[in-house]
């Protein structure tokens, strides 16, 4: 633990970051799961590693480096997708392992574990405020484009015929995902932050029949997974990333159980 910072301080900061990042990652992830871009959420987070490494090597804020890499990657992915009509998954799949490999090679070994799994003991008040602002902005902007993106998933022609610019909405969406992932890296780490984008939404989809319920549950499950993971990490003195994953998996399994019990309760026809 760093000098001058009490356990309760960084735990409180991390918990608040966890709630906000969980809400925003879950909400944004609900689009990703519908778009069948689950791999994109996971892989995009790995792209941050070389950025983190550059920050550490050249002594600037590693999370600015991470966001820079995520931002540029998102634009490249969007542009290649737009001109080739390849799925985002195919494009990300092709570049994410390369980014991970470069990152692991250039990041100092001593910082690798923190970069991969996050470290809640190094969270500051500034990190917390940044996470709150970015999460709120990401949620509000995503809410504006949510319906347009969903309409584009239903039918690109249908969306285009109503004047929706799908390419523009997708670009904004990928940029917002990059922002949220960059913020989430702080507590969950680059290897596991993608989990927060994918699994809460997958859990919400299991028990949702309409879009409103689905998007709200995705956000709430995200917040629940990350905040309970951070709390457990604080009390057990373990890295938060893996514990966030365990909490998220527990939420997911609970929804599968709910779905299973509903199926069994339905009268057979």
């Amino acid at each position: 633990m760093r000098e001058g910072i009490h356990t309760t301080d960084f735990l409180t900061y991390s918990l608040i970051i966890g709630v906000f990042v969980g809400l925003s990652a879950g909400y944004l992830g609900s689009i990703m799961v519908l778009e069948k871009m689950a791999l994109v959420g996971d892989a995009l987070s790995h792209v941050a590693l070389p950025g983190l490494a550059l920050g550490i090597l050249f002594n600037f804020n590693p999370f600015i480096g991470a966001f820079g890499f995520l931002f540029v990657s998102a634009v490249i992915i969007w542009y290649i997708g737009k001109i080739t009509k390849l799925s985002y998954e195919a494009i990300v799949g092709a570049i994410f392992t390369l980014a991970l490999a470069i990152g692991i090679l250039i990041i100092p070994e001593v910082d690798l574990l923190e970069a991969l799994f996050g470290d809640i003991t190094k969270v500051t008040l500034t990190d917390m405020l940044t996470a709150i602002v970015i999460s709120v902005v990401a949620i509000l902007l995503t809410k504006v484009i949510y319906r347009r993106i969903v309409l584009g998933m239903i039918s690109e022609d249908l969306a285009a015929s109503t004047g929706v610019n799908i390419a523009r909405a997708n670009l904004l969406y990928l940029l917002l995902v990059s922002l949220v992932v960059a913020v989430g890296l702080r507590i969950v780490g680059t290897l596991l932050v993608g989990f927060l984008v994918v699994v809460p939404a997958a859990a919400a989809k299991t028990v949702s029949t309409n879009l409103l319920k689905y998007s709200i549950l995705s956000a709430l499950f995200g917040a629940l997974s990350s905040s309970s993971g951070v709390l457990l990490a604080g009390y057990l003195n373990l890295p938060a990333g893996p514990l966030v994953v365990f909490s998220g998996v527990a939420v997911f399994l609970a929804t599968v159980l709910v779905k299973w019990s509903h199926r069994h309760a339905e009268p057979r026809t």
């Binding site: 319906r147 998933m153 039918s155 015929s161 109503t162 309409n210 409103l212 319920k213």
Partner: protein
């Protein structure tokens, strides 16, 4: 075809070239307000591309002139909703303008029974009707249907065309529909545009029963069944 005052759409020398392939070549026709135009042709004839050009979704050369105050509703051939948890109500509220229950009533669906249903859980016939209701939501006065009965069982096909005919009559809506059925063309449209990249026929729909025209369109005379 009719006087120019009533003309709602004029297409002259329309050509579309995509990825170096000519999809539509020099297509021309005119359409009167409140009539139904059926578009017929083999696969790859450019029917859907014609719709995309009319909606300004693909680059084209030539002239497409919609008369003023035209609001176009479009129903594509297929949509993917199976994996999206979205209710009928949420889908219809993507568009604003008309009352949801009025639009569902126009397609003979009971709002109370269907609004909370998942879009992906509807039958083929229900989904098509919801799509037609969607196209009416912003008070459209021109409707473009790309094979409006795709995924609908044979018994439910005819009622959908009867309903479209009613919409045309009651609300003076202009309808353009892509179909593969000679019977539907003859029964439910006023004009026929036969395409095979270029125009192979444009005129009154009743002409479709002429064997020599069928030979021109299909290369052979088509037997007439209840639904061809």
């Amino acid at each position: 075809m009719g006087n120019t005052k009533d003309c709602i759409l004029e297409v002259s020398n329309l050509s579309v070239k995509l990825q170096d392939q000519i999809i539509l070549d020099n297509v021309s026709f005119r359409l009167r307000k409140g009539t139904a135009l059926a578009i017929l042709g083999p696969n790859g004839a450019g029917k859907t591309t014609l719709f995309k050009a009319l909606l300004n979704l693909v680059p084209y050369t030539g002239k497409i002139e919609w008369k003023s105050k035209v609001k176009i509703g479009y129903v594509p051939q297929s949509i993917s909703v199976k994996d999206i948890p979205i209710s009928v109500k949420e889908f219809l509220t993507f568009k604003k303008g008309s009352s949801i229950s009025e639009c569902l009533g126009a397609v003979r669906l009971d709002a109370k029974k269907i609004l909370d249903k998942g879009l992906g859980l509807l039958s083929g016939g229900e989904l098509r009707r919801v799509l037609i209701a969607w196209s009416l939501m912003d008070k459209s006065n021109v409707l473009l249907f790309d094979e409006p009965t795709t995924g609908v069982d044979l018994d439910s096909e005819e009622p959908i065309y009867v309903m479209l005919n009613e919409l045309k009559r009651k609300h003076r809506i202009t309808i353009l529909l892509i179909s593969h059925s000679i019977h539907i063309v003859e029964e439910y449209s006023d004009y026929l545009l036969a395409l095979n990249r270029c125009t192979t026929f444009f005129g009154e729909s009743k002409e479709i029963m002429n064997p020599s025209l069928q030979k021109t369109i299909y290369g052979e005379t088509v037997c007439r069944g209840p639904i061809a």
